[in-house]
């Protein structure tokens, strides 16, 4: 999915948080967003992800404003993901259940994504009892499983050990290559951005710089 942002303005109590006259995010690429704390990265993802509707300007997804179809084809993994108080299996299966996928296929898909992210050992644990890093892995699995056209990730590896970071990066890239899904990833790790991103956007006080 291609993204086109025009005249985006976002304020909190009269303070401008985002001011982006024009920004294009290319389809099928991995775009990194980086910038200091408080520069507006999460706010930007909230707006693109349709969670925050209070802004000025327009965001077009393949030329269209946000609608139901677009919403079901994109997803957003929060920095501190919320997992359901059910087993990891049910957490990951949820998006497919919403899409009325049959049980056998759900089982296969969950098994596959667990193996890819190397988290099969978590399958029977309760979602709300996982550590921060484990939650991030499961939340990524829950996002990847339905192969969204647009994947928004807010510091997806912030609580994750170096070994697992490799795995997650590999799977994000694989998702991008195999499905041509667009990825927008907020990261503080410039090396990570260089490793996996095709483009990098630098946000500074709500403006795009370089």
């Amino acid at each position: 999915m291609e993204l086109y942002i025009e005249n985006l303005h976002k304020k909190y109590d009269d303070k401008t948080i985002l001011d982006i006259p024009r920004l294009k995010i290319q389809e099928g690429k991995i775009t990194g967003i980086t910038g200091l704390n408080g520069s507006g990265k999460s706010t930007l993802l909230n707006i693109i992800g349709g969670i925050d509707k209070e802004f000025e300007g327009s965001i077009r997804y393949n030329g269209k404003l946000l609608n139901k179809e677009i919403a079901t084809n994109m997803t957003y993994v929060f920095q501190k993901p919320y997992l359901f108080r059910r087993k990891v299996y049910d957490n990951i299966a949820y998006p497919l259940k919403l899409r009325k996928v049959n049980k056998d296929r759900i089982e296969k898909a969950v098994q596959e994504i667990l193996e890819r992210l190397e988290i099969t050992d978590l399958v029977n644990k309760k979602g709300h009892k996982l550590s921060g890093g484990e939650s991030q892995k499961v939340a990524l699995a829950r996002a990847l499983i339905f192969e969204p056209k647009l994947l928004l990730l807010d510091e997806p590896t912030s609580n994750i050990d170096p070994e697992s970071i490799k795995v997650l990066e590999r799977e994000i890239v694989r998702f991008n290559k195999e499905t041509n899904g667009t990825v927008l990833i907020v990261t503080h790790n410039l090396n990570q951005a260089k490793r996996i991103c095709d483009d990098i956007i630098y946000l500074s006080f709500g403006r795009v710089g370089n």
Partner: protein, 229 residues
């Protein structure tokens, strides 16, 4: 000190012998407080969820009103209901002052702010996050309501138990609108309060034991579920 010991012995005798008067009091207590809690819950849990999730102007003021009213003293609720139901009051024609009905009304009004406030808080904090997650995973508004209820049901149950606990242990409201009439509107707390002032300890102790068992039971239920977190 002997009279305390004697009081306990007599109290146990009353309980073991299933003294009809004692048991009538216990049953009425349970009936009034359960009915009040159910009535308040059925109507105000949905309202609390709705208000907590909904964005609207003046939400901050609403939050403040709800939180403040959670701590309203039970005698005040009793007094207001008594004024409304008294013979000359606007609802005097109903002729239900000093009846269990009046007590149910008073306790319902007493627990409404509590159940509303607790549910509202839950929906405003965790509920809105769950709503967002449902949206990001492709759910519509019905999917998100189902998910919210599923995720919050244990906490909601704990809130209901907390409200019941408040109802069954309060004395002010039921005393004022019930009048503590023997065989008619006497409940555990009003009886304890009266027996104590009459110096008749056995029945007060017997009912005190029952009230403690009920309270401990509810609180250990609440505790074991809140440990699920």
């Amino acid at each position: 000190m002997d009279y305390i010991f004697q009081g306990f012995i007599e109290a146990l005798k009353l309980l073991i012998s299933f003294d009809p008067e004692v048991f009538k009091i216990i049953i009425l207590s349970l009936f009034v407080s359960t009915t009040a809690t159910i009535l308040a819950s059925l109507i105000f849990i949905p309202i609390g969820i709705y208000l907590g999730l909904k964005k609207f102007r003046g939400k901050r003021i609403i939050s403040r009103i709800i939180y403040t009213s959670m701590s309203v003293p039970s005698v005040i609720v009793g007094l207001v209901v008594a004024i409304l139901l008294s013979r000359r009051g606007p609802l005097g024609h109903l002729d239900i002052m000093y009846t269990p009905k009046a007590m149910i009304i008073a306790q319902t009004l007493l627990v409404i702010p509590l159940i509303l406030g607790l549910t509202y808080n839950l929906a405003k904090n965790r509920g809105t996050i769950i709503e967002k997650v449902a949206f990001t995973l492709g759910g519509n508004s019905i999917d998100s309501i189902i998910l919210i209820i599923r995720e919050l049901k244990v906490d909601i149950l704990v809130n209901v138990a907390t409200s019941f606990s408040r109802a069954i242990s309060e004395v002010g409201a039921v005393m004022i609108v019930g009048g503590n009439i023997k065989g008619h509107t006497r409940v555990i707390t009003t009886t304890i309060s009266m027996m104590n002032s009459m110096g008749d300890y056995p029945m007060a102790i017997a009912l005190g034991i029952i009230l403690l068992i009920i309270s401990f039971g509810i609180n250990s239920f609440i505790y074991s579920y809140s440990q699920e977190d």
